[in-house]
Subunit: 361 residues, 2 copies
């Protein structure tokens, strides 16, 4: 049966609708802040998850110091809305990016980008020159995740020196995104870099660690100054799978309606890969958790169809019923929609624009 | 080396940028039109792929008769831009949808929705009443794809009778989306339904077939009146894999820049799952084809990182190089962006808004 809230959402906005519970959002924000406070780290939340200046301001007002963005376009949206002290945890490369970074810096906002290679490091000189002010640049270090980042302490030290040697640039510190099970290795990497920096008269003002799953390791990397967590504001099936969250900690759900029961053990939701996305959440079974029917399996997608296997599900949802789905990976789902419907105390309170949605450049 | 066009795109718009070649687009439109003309079928292209009223109008002006939408929100955008004769190949369910459908019908535009169940069929009565005019409704039939659609001819006939029995509704015909290898079975299903309809004094004015891979079967379903093809306007790796397209037929590419060479055999593109999407294209190897480096494998994604395995690739792309990627599944990639960059004769001509992007309701 459709819950009263689901019915209200379907009536007022239609489905599919991406909905956040502000009570849970605030609890999640406070939990992250407390974890950082206890560990003695600055909380620099990653806005890639919510892409909303309103929620970023809420995080700031509840204790966060600065924010993290992944793309320059996200930083532009956040800065225009009054957010300051922005870390861009990404290699920004190319003339067009440097012009925009220069313009952003000229507004007076503090933005620190990062790099893991000389091309990116050298390019930042142009942005600083265009801005007419000094630019702090961090060095991204890979301590085993095999994403971006220099792979050795020697490369990190060389890159820091290169930055420091450029007119208009200052070496701002180190960016880590350590695998959850490689804290000791990451510590050794960091210690070696810091020793090398000292030998060269340099210092890492910022040592930024990252990841919501790494919140359980908070405080274990000695010398860290801040932490970046994105997903913890909403949580999702991935965060449940890694032990960070329970179902009650999940603030975002996709409300969807069963539009077909094609076959007795099959059903179709009005949400497919253009809403829930094909992100498997690192290999989770099924494409989301239906809260009202946890034994229903979202087994596949067309673009606008979510294919349900209802064979293990009794009772089964009927046609016209609206259900709520915890997505596998919340960050990519938020990025599909222009607005989030907001709920508090079980009542709809309005909508929130996803102002930085699709800011992929 | 970055091509002159890629350099121009990177300079003018930045990367990642989703780019369409209008010369190829027009060739693809004409090829579809000719195939339908030869088969004696109306061409009713599916706009889910491009979500652009400008391109829908181009299809119409080159011979298409009507368009197909998957969601009501897409139909609203298209109708507002002057497109008429819209088939919505989807079960629309719920009060909010019926109010919007009623409003859309009141503008005078021809819209035909479909259904595969009595709940949807009955609901359309409200839309017709709100519109103050008759509404034609099609019955969706499943001939083996196991998506939406009634599973037996008897159900199709019963549903057609139910529609015809409702005040304000008229049975408009049948919607098929036959598996490519089940043409004979689909023909038998259709013949049985048509015989049953005749016995009940009903007729399927429209018999709509669908799918770009099914273009090779065009004309094989006797009694079909029209065909819906979406992906053929742009094509992608899926369409190459199924034999519909060659690389030269792919009109859309994601232009992305190599922002890191973290490790000698690794690279990182500035396009991750928030641009190229996690859609595997039905199990293709890798997440896209880099035209300039076909042996580079896009092996995985973070949200804004495309992870390259360059081990089989010689030479390898350098940091700062902009490449062009044919995505696995073009329809979901277009849906990620607000605009497409347009190119003709190798020169940038401007941008095209993806006006129906994110119209998931």
């Amino acid at each position: 049966m459709t819950s009263p809230l689901a019915a209200a959402i379907a009536r007022q906005y239609g489905t599919p609708a991406v909905v956040i519970d502000l009570d849970i959002v605030e609890r999640n924000i406070d939990r992250l802040q407390q974890a950082c406070d206890v560990a003695g780290l600055r909380n620099r939340p990653h806005i890639k998850t919510h892409k909303s200046p309103v929620l970023a301001a809420l995080q700031r007002d509840r204790g966060a110091r600065g924010i993290t963005c992944q793309k320059l376009g996200e930083a532009e949206v956040m800065a225009a809305a009054g957010l300051d002290d922005i870390l861009i945890s990404y290699n920004l490369i190319g003339e067009e990016k440097m012009q925009r970074l220069g313009r952003l810096l000229r507004t007076g906002v503090t933005v620190r980008p990062c790099c893991d290679n000389p091309v990116a490091a050298d390019g930042y000189v142009d942005a600083a020159r265009l801005a007419g002010r000094e630019l702090e640049v961090l060095v991204e270090c890979d301590t085993g995740r095999e994403r971006a980042g220099v792979e050795t302490p020697a490369e990190a030290i060389a890159l820091a020196r290169r930055i420091a040697g450029h007119d208009g640039l200052r070496f701002g510190g180190l960016l880590l995104y350590a695998p959850e099970d490689r804290q000791a290795e990451s510590q050794r990497f960091l210690d070696e870099v810091k020793a090398g920096l000292r030998e060269n008269g340099l210092e890492a003002g910022i040592v930024s660690t990252g990841g919501t799953p790494n919140l359980r390791n908070l405080g274990r990397i000695e010398g860290a100054t801040e932490h970046r967590s994105g997903t913890s504001i909403f949580n999702d099936r991935m965060m449940m799978a890694c032990g960070h969250a329970t179902l009650e900690d999940c603030a975002l759900a996709v409300y969807a309606t069963v539009v077909s029961r094609a076959g007795p053990d099959r059903g179709i939701l009005d949400s497919g890969s253009k809403t829930l996305t094909s992100d498997t959440g690192g290999g989770l079974d099924g494409h989301g958790l239906i809260r009202e029917y946890p034994k229903a399996r979202i087994k596949g997608f067309a673009e606008e169809h979510g294919m349900l296997d209802l064979s293990a599900c009794d009772p089964k949802p009927g046609i016209g019923e609206t259900v709520s789905i915890i997505p596998n990976h919340v960050c990519v789902v938020v990025n599909m929609v222009d607005e989030l419907v907001t709920v508090r105390g079980g009542e709809i309170t309005g909508t929130l624009p996803v102002a930085a949605r699709g800011k992929l450049r």
